[in-house]
Symmetry: C2
Subunit: 343 residues, 2 copies
Amino acid sequence: MPDKPFDPKTVSLDEMRALFRELPGPDLEAGTQAAAREAQLTKPRGALGRLEELAAWLATWQGRHPPRLQHPRTAVFAGNHGVAALGVSAYPSEVTAQMVQNFVAGGAAVNQLCRAFDADLRVYELALEQPTADFTQGPAMTGDDCARAMAYGMMAVEPNLDVLCLGEMGIGNTTSAAALACALFGGEVEDWVGRGTGVSGDALEAKIRVVREGVERHGDAGDPLDLLAAVGGLELAAIAGAVIAARLARTPVVLDGFACTVAAAVLWKVDPKALEHCIVGHRSVEPGHSRVLEAIGKEPLFDFGMRLGEGSGATLALGVLRAAVECHTGMATFADAGVSGPA
Amino acid sequence: MPDKPFDPKTVSLDEMRALFRELPGPDLEAGTQAAAREAQLTKPRGALGRLEELAAWLATWQGRHPPRLQHPRTAVFAGNHGVAALGVSAYPSEVTAQMVQNFVAGGAAVNQLCRAFDADLRVYELALEQPTADFTQGPAMTGDDCARAMAYGMMAVEPNLDVLCLGEMGIGNTTSAAALACALFGGEVEDWVGRGTGVSGDALEAKIRVVREGVERHGDAGDPLDLLAAVGGLELAAIAGAVIAARLARTPVVLDGFACTVAAAVLWKVDPKALEHCIVGHRSVEPGHSRVLEAIGKEPLFDFGMRLGEGSGATLALGVLRAAVECHTGMATFADAGVSGPA
C-alpha cells in the first residue's frame, strides 16, 4: 500500500497516476532461488509444470524465498450502477445489497470457497444507495469520486497478506465493464457484451445499446483512468486501487472474471508492467473475458464455465497456489532422498 | 469392492471379466436431488459451471445426497517393467523403489499434495524386485499374474472412502502404457509415444521401437484384459482393479495422467460405461494422454503442463472437488437469504 493513506477529501486521479512511478519490479533473487531449489526436487525437471511457475511467481512478487501462503485474503467490492435502471440485467439493483448481506451471513459461494481454502474474506460496500450516474447521459463518476473509490480499494491490502484474491458484486457491472473494455481496447461493442447474469432478447439488445452509447459518448474522455471514471463503477475503481496497493505492498494478486479483469486492465493500459504481480483464476464464459485476457496476455488457471463473479474464480485458485507452495517447500531433494538422477 | 476378496492363488482374468456384469449404475435420485438444490442456491443458474457438475457427479456416484468429501484417498501403485532394461527411460529401474521410499518418507510431490488437501495416502508396491517380462520377447505377464495384480489393486478401496485418486510410479511405464494404448485404440505408434520422464534422441527412438515390437507381437492377443497382461504392467493392472472395485463400492474416482488413464481405459474398452464414475484430474503433456482422453470422452479439470505421475494431477483435483461440495452443501438458498430472483 502507499506509505500513508490518501485523504478522501482531497484525493485525485493525479495522485493515482503518480503511483505508477513507484511500482516495484520483480525480486529476481527470490525467483532465482526458487528455480535453483526446483531443479533439486525429486521429480523430472519441469514435471510439475504450472505449479513450478506459480511457486516461482509467488516468490518473485512476494519478494522472498521460500514463498508463503499462510494468509490469503479474498476482497469483494460491491457497487451499484446507474445503468442498471436501463434494463440491462436479469436482476434488480437491490440484489447487490442483498448479496452483500448474504456474504455477511456466510451464505454465498465465495464464503464456502474461503472456508474451503482458509482465506480471510473481506467485503467492501461502496455506497450502495448511491449508484454511479447513468453513463449514457454523462460520466459515471467524477475523477475525484473515482480516485476516492480507488483509495478505498487500497484498504483491502494490509501487511502480511500472502496473496490477495479480488472479486466484485454489482448488478449492471458487466455492462459497465463492457463499455470500459471497449473504450480501452477498441473492437466491436457486440464482441464485448455477454449475457452477464443471464440476459437475452430485449435485455441483451438494451445492454448492447447502452454500451454503445457509453463508448460513443466517452470513448475520447482521456487516459485509462479517465475512462474508468467515465464508464466504470465504484467497485471497479476499488479493484484497480487494490491491485496497485498490492503491488506496492509486494502482495501477489489473483484476479477473477470479466468485470474484475477489466478493472485491472485499466492499469495495464497505463503500464503493461503494472499487472505482472497478477494471475487470473479462471476463464469466465462471459465472452469479453477471453478478449481482455488476450489483450493483457494472461492465461487463467481454470476453464470451468463459471460466470458468478464475487471472487469465486479467484478464490478457487488458492487450492492450486497452496499445492504449488507445498510442493516447492516440502518436497525432498534428490540428495536428501537418495533418489538417483537421470542417467 | 467385490463382496469377498479374491483368492490370490486362484484368481483369474475370467473372474475379473465377470465383474463387469455387476457394475452399479448412477444413482439418478441423488443426481436429481443435487440438481433441485442447485437451482435454489443464491447465484444465477449454472453460474458455478463445472463445480455444479462435479457436485452432481459426486452425488450420483456416491449414491447419496448431499455428496461428501470427508475421506479422500490417494492410492499410488508402483511396479517395475522388463522393458526398462531396453534404454527407454531417462532413469534407471532402481528409481521406482527409491521413489517408493520417498513416498514413505513424505518427500515426494504427492505427499505434499495429500497434506494440502487432507487426503489419506496409500502406496502399494507390486513386487518391485520382480519386474514384468520384456514384452518384446513374450507377454509381460500371464493372465493369472495380471488378475492377481488387479485383485491387489482392489485392496485400495475400503468402505467410507468418499473419493479415490489413483496414481502410479514405475520406470518404463509410459512405454508399457503407449503399447497398451496403441493395442487398444490403434493408430500410429509414434503418436502414442512421448518423452516420459524426459527421453530424447536415441532413447526416444528405442522407446518407439520397443512399443512397435510390443504392438506387433501382441496386438491380437485377445480382449482388452488380455492386452493388459501382454504389454501392461503390474501397477497398471492394479489401477484397473482399483477402478472396478471403486465402482462396486460406489466410490467416485479421479484418474491421473497418461499411464493411469490408459490403465483405466482397458475397462472402457470392455464397457464404455465402466468409467462413468471416473473423472480425470489433469491433461498431461505426454501426447498420448490427450489421445486416450479423446478416445474415452473425458475432459480433464486442469491443463497445467504436468507430467509427473504418482497421482499428482489426480490429487490436485481434490481442491476443486472440495470447493464443489462446499458450495453445493453450504450456500444459502434464495429463500433463506432473502435475495430476489431474476426479474
